[in-house]
Symmetry: D2
Subunit: 309 residues, 4 copies
Amino acid sequence: MRLTTDARGVYPIAPTPFLDDGRIDVDSIDRLSDFYLACGATGITVLGQLGEAPKLEHAESVDVATRMIRRAASLPVIVGVSAPGFAAMRALTREVMDRGAAGVMIAPPNTLRTDDQIVGYYAQAVAAIGADVPFVIQDYPLTFSVQMTPGVIRRIHTELPSCTLLKHEDWPGLEKISTLKAWVRDGTMRPLPILVGNNGLFLDYEMERGADGANTGYAFPDMLVDVVRLSGAGRREEAHDLFDAHLPLLRYEQQPGVGLTVRKYILHRRGLLHSPALRAPAAPLTAAARAEVEHLLSRLARHDARARV
Amino acid sequence: MRLTTDARGVYPIAPTPFLDDGRIDVDSIDRLSDFYLACGATGITVLGQLGEAPKLEHAESVDVATRMIRRAASLPVIVGVSAPGFAAMRALTREVMDRGAAGVMIAPPNTLRTDDQIVGYYAQAVAAIGADVPFVIQDYPLTFSVQMTPGVIRRIHTELPSCTLLKHEDWPGLEKISTLKAWVRDGTMRPLPILVGNNGLFLDYEMERGADGANTGYAFPDMLVDVVRLSGAGRREEAHDLFDAHLPLLRYEQQPGVGLTVRKYILHRRGLLHSPALRAPAAPLTAAARAEVEHLLSRLARHDARARV
Amino acid sequence: MRLTTDARGVYPIAPTPFLDDGRIDVDSIDRLSDFYLACGATGITVLGQLGEAPKLEHAESVDVATRMIRRAASLPVIVGVSAPGFAAMRALTREVMDRGAAGVMIAPPNTLRTDDQIVGYYAQAVAAIGADVPFVIQDYPLTFSVQMTPGVIRRIHTELPSCTLLKHEDWPGLEKISTLKAWVRDGTMRPLPILVGNNGLFLDYEMERGADGANTGYAFPDMLVDVVRLSGAGRREEAHDLFDAHLPLLRYEQQPGVGLTVRKYILHRRGLLHSPALRAPAAPLTAAARAEVEHLLSRLARHDARARV
Amino acid sequence: MRLTTDARGVYPIAPTPFLDDGRIDVDSIDRLSDFYLACGATGITVLGQLGEAPKLEHAESVDVATRMIRRAASLPVIVGVSAPGFAAMRALTREVMDRGAAGVMIAPPNTLRTDDQIVGYYAQAVAAIGADVPFVIQDYPLTFSVQMTPGVIRRIHTELPSCTLLKHEDWPGLEKISTLKAWVRDGTMRPLPILVGNNGLFLDYEMERGADGANTGYAFPDMLVDVVRLSGAGRREEAHDLFDAHLPLLRYEQQPGVGLTVRKYILHRRGLLHSPALRAPAAPLTAAARAEVEHLLSRLARHDARARV
């Protein structure tokens, strides 16, 4: 099952579950997988920016991806393979594609500056991993400091046929979606599905601008699925009502650094992770922050019963 | 009226009003000033990051500050004097202090990296502007790329007696407030009022962590005043209810770049600015974005009548 | 006398001379001007990156430029007008052009990233200063963190007819010169003179790649003039012999930060500056560094009598 | 043979030799090793910044290090283990230490900013690799954008007993050497050998400031050995004469990006590498650049017979 430009819906970014002692928690991988499937996700991404990939040894990365691929048999699984060198990127890509991955996600290294450097980097990455492997552009300037204009994305997408999906996390990014989708409509760019990230902070309006879904890790992917569905069905105010109810928590979870700790805490409270633990090094959730998350959950529960955890 | 460490409440960041032809709109400066006073602000900041200061010639900057200082007679006015060189910083500081400014705000240049460089920069700035001028540290790493630890802020505040206020815009920043306020409580740092920025995106919990108010430019400063008041009065859920109703719009306005355009549009729709114009160069609000802002206002108006514009 | 694309030879970057008490040393401006003229310079640049421009108040900047323009009557004087905002850039440009400047030099702000942002910035700058003012692109990625490909430079030069000169300080930069000059030769770009900076660290081979001269502040501009002349006359090994004799000192002077202090010290030792002082804030030359400079001068004097100071 | 704070002399940074088809050239590893030993090196570093480490798969990295360790039996071999995650760093460290490495070199990731972040990073790295593994701080702000003050280096060195060596590549860096060595002399810091990098661009004066040698990859490590020896023996002018003769080439080789290509070309011309090839992706040496290198070699050969290649 290869990723194609028909991709749409919600591809949650799966965290990597750990036990309290730092070992990988394989049972929770299964639980997450089952949950994503049950709540209507159309794909899964593992080993993304918030999958603690740099803390995994190579063999562990392959194991995590393989476990998810096997369990989520009916869902395409994208594997983050961003690496400082093409050798490591190629090695991981080959192993996970052999094991059934649908494609890989590649973020640009934060040393890239000019348009040509960015386009050239993706060309080199494709040369390394093979032109037959569908890949996802991760466009996340806030974290990577690499700014891709719509024109650069079009160049990558046009020059590299294996470019299949845009994980859009630019901020602000609404006009970028409008521009890219207009190019597809007027035929100056071949189709490119856009799934939004940034924890979904603008999912409400991004869907209205033409996004095809979400590819992010918010602890309530079931909400993301609902908003995408309601928005697609033209039930605009219902989509906004649900989204707005989640926005206070979603914003809280989107904080750099501490965000993943919050996310894992909530997934643990929802019964999806055996432990909220991050692998070391990691800062703990302070008592004040934990109380704030509980407060946010209790307020959310008034509007969305799924927050009664 | 000099700024002191007793500062608290809401100091709106005033935009610089322009007419459609690019001239400064002095009437709207008066209107903004009257509005801030009426809605309960306890101070005003002009020529901040979103005051389009770099588009003003020196004489214009002095005029804008002077007009605001005179009109808002009973409110302390802080003037942003950040500049690439100390000569320009000193020149502007002297002129506005002579005209009655309460203090100045200084952001670190984005080339600073080490702790010593940051502390040294503020020491040099004080040497330039004079040790008798109260100054505000602007701690805004997202925009300035300068990261100040709590320890660095304490060093600046301890070594430079004219350090009077922290405009806190770190992100994430909740633990930073807790750390600094704990130091004041245990006596290892002299009192330092903290007013939060970042468009108030975390104002709800920042107040609970010990912040003394807000110093930001959200187009509904009256909401900021209410939340600060409710939070201070222990009416926690009311504070959150009001804040949450504004969060969708507040988040929309906080987008880098386009945010100021949105803010001026809303202030114009509220009747506070004669024109929503930014001085060139500036990107216009697209039709799609304008429709989104109107949609956000209409949804907000269900909860807060002030959004019926 | 307006700058044209016929510019070539050596345009020294003049330091701003100060007296020990921080006042501008106007006599030394005259002395520098006379010296540049006498040693064969074909133009002068003032208020450049190493002209301590940010330490000058606006009126001082105008005075320094005006003094140099008047004294160096027969030489075109370029004025650095880089500023954080277009208002200040326009104000300074107008005043110095009125007083006879040949053109202005504009460096890109270090927040620019994409090709479009860079081209757009120069378009906005031209809109601000006027399309009739010849301007110099300063391409100095090491200091400004802005990377301009040859293609971006061609876009700026093609879209903006007032683009007149490239101050080339990329590092490495030899291939960039070859690429741009090949475009001029094959007619895909209109003529663009290239004067090299970077303290001339690669002047020897840059001339052989097609550069038209130097635009930098090394304390022996007379050496730069000689190397440019010898290279142009095909006396290759003589050019290298002279250059290599200076390279140990030239490298020493090129150090970021301390470099200007070294340069002023040498210019003072050569009798061209009344005082080696930088305006505050500035770090002093340590005793060890001063001894190293004297050692370098004494070694250089074996090959070049001008170093006997 | 573990690295200790008695380290001094020249530790060349070995390039990773490749055959034209991209395979690792093991014979050339042996040839390099023999050459380093013969010319008086006191240690070797492999898989450094210019060892193309990111282009190697994990097993290849271990093989390269192991081959060098075995061949250079009497010399301590330091292995670069910088990695985006501690898991990969730990894995490589353990394998090479098991095979006889003397220690590892760790560069800070370019996302670090504050003093505490830098110190904390090294503490976490030591927690990952084990407190018994001697490590080298690589202080290279030009490439890594991480600025370590002398105070930060002292904190790392004091808090982490396995800190054993400083690879000093700050620029400018002369005062940093003076400061650190003064602290050792006055007893406020335990001994810390300093070997300089930056291609040795300031080796002449760095030795006079107290550096203990060089740890860089210039294609004439035999010159580095001579300069260190002459300088240590008080034969100052001889040291400078030799250094100055090499400076034109050394400067040329130090160019970012193209520098490694030049270095490998020269090592190939010297008969030490079977092929000058870099592993893909890599830009080729242009004809103009090759001619420049040959010209530099021919000029150098007048002063140093080793350049007759």
